[in-house]
């Protein structure tokens, strides 16, 4: 399916939710739940917990759709952010077994060779971010991966990569500054 059509359909449906349009929420769910479930499952690593959080995510979308501003954020970014935040909230609430296995600093940008084509996100954006991530030092990129995909805190990342907390903070902050200046080029 056409990416732009899909994006506009999600944005148009989000705009109808504040009127109490349940079918609009269901459309958003149909188009995005598999991606958001993937995001939540990756962070929580536990299916029933992830299902529970996915419910919270769409109930949050239902309540907060009026706050979505298409001029400020793309609909997928908005949804992915809600999903990550709810999953991280759940993680921080502490019932989870955290991922504590060591991170291999030499790990590449992606887990598997080609990044799967996404019908929801622009290939251009992906390629640009990918190139900028590639330009980071291996340890910086590995730390960002642990934070973004596994929802790790500074403390957890420091433990996983066996460095002092201060070092980890420096790595992440330096990586984010580099990332920003690379993306702005």
């Amino acid at each position: 399916m056409n990416l732009d059509a899909n994006r506009s359909l999600i944005a148009a449906s989000l705009a109808r939710i504040p009127d109490g349009d349940r079918a609009a929420l269901q459309t958003v769910y149909r188009l995005t739940s598999a991606k958001l479930f993937g995001v939540v499952l990756r962070i929580l690593n536990e299916r029933s917990e992830a299902e529970d959080v996915l419910q919270e995510v769409y109930l949050t979308v239902w309540r907060k759709a009026a706050a979505f501003d298409p001029a400020r954020a793309s609909p997928m970014t908005w949804l992915i952010t809600i999903a990550r935040n709810r999953a991280i909230d759940r993680l921080r609430a502490g019932r989870q077994v955290r991922r504590i296995e060591p991170i291999e600093a030499a790990a590449g940008v992606s887990d598997d060779a080609p990044v799967a084509e996404s019908v929801l996100q622009s290939e251009q954006e992906n390629a640009r971010l990918h190139a900028c991530l590639e330009s980071l030092a291996n340890n910086e990129r590995a730390a960002l991966r642990g934070a973004f995909f596994d929802g790790n805190t500074y403390e957890e990342l420091a433990a996983r990569m066996r460095v002092p907390l201060g070092t980890m903070k420096s790595w992440i902050r330096r990586a984010m500054i580099k990332l920003k200046s690379c993306l702005e080029q």
């Binding site: 739940s33 598999a34 499952l41 952010t81 973004f148 995909f149 992440i172 984010m176």
Partner: protein
Amino acid sequence: MSDTFDHSGVPADELLAAEVALGVLSGPERTQAEQRRLREPAFDAMVIAWEERLAPWAAEIDEVAPPPRVWDNIAAQLPPQAAARGGLWQSLAFWRGLALAGGALAAACLAALVYLGTLSPAPPLVAAIGSDGRQHFVAAVDVRRGTIAVVPASFAADATRVPELWLVPSGGKPRSLGLLSADRGVTITIPADLIAQTTSNATLAVSLEPPGGSPTGQPTGPVIGSGKLTTL
């Protein structure tokens, strides 16, 4: 707040915004930063900008279809559809009630007549779309207006696929009439070139298609039900 490291003159707020978007903070640091977002639009905008930068990374995460119970649980927690907007026609409970009351086709036809009223001089065409004795949708054609109204009777939503309505002329190929909704009635304008074929010789069918509808112009998913158009 975050420690004041000197990172080549990058403002502390910018770094904090990056940390919030990445999600590395915990405990009171995280709570305080979230509260600042609510109070300070400028700081909130910085966090959103960071979320925009990072979100494309999620393209790397494989999609995983959630089980149908997730949507069922969500739907159960939503407030009922506002009566003023939907009315009886769009009230799923009303239609399900009718369908369950027995004699679903007769009930649907009666309801269709009530809905269409006496506006239409031509006798209305109706169809109950189902299989194995189960009605999934009921449809009523308003010949004069060239529209078809379709409501779900006992159609169960599917998180990954959408129901698509097809007109199957006698001896002809299915022609798409559009997408249906699992939880409320929709009224579709029949394409001009199909109006002549929307007769009691034709059949309506519903298939399950990817979001956005069949990519080929022909049904690609399972046909979950069909029903012949009948003149009342």
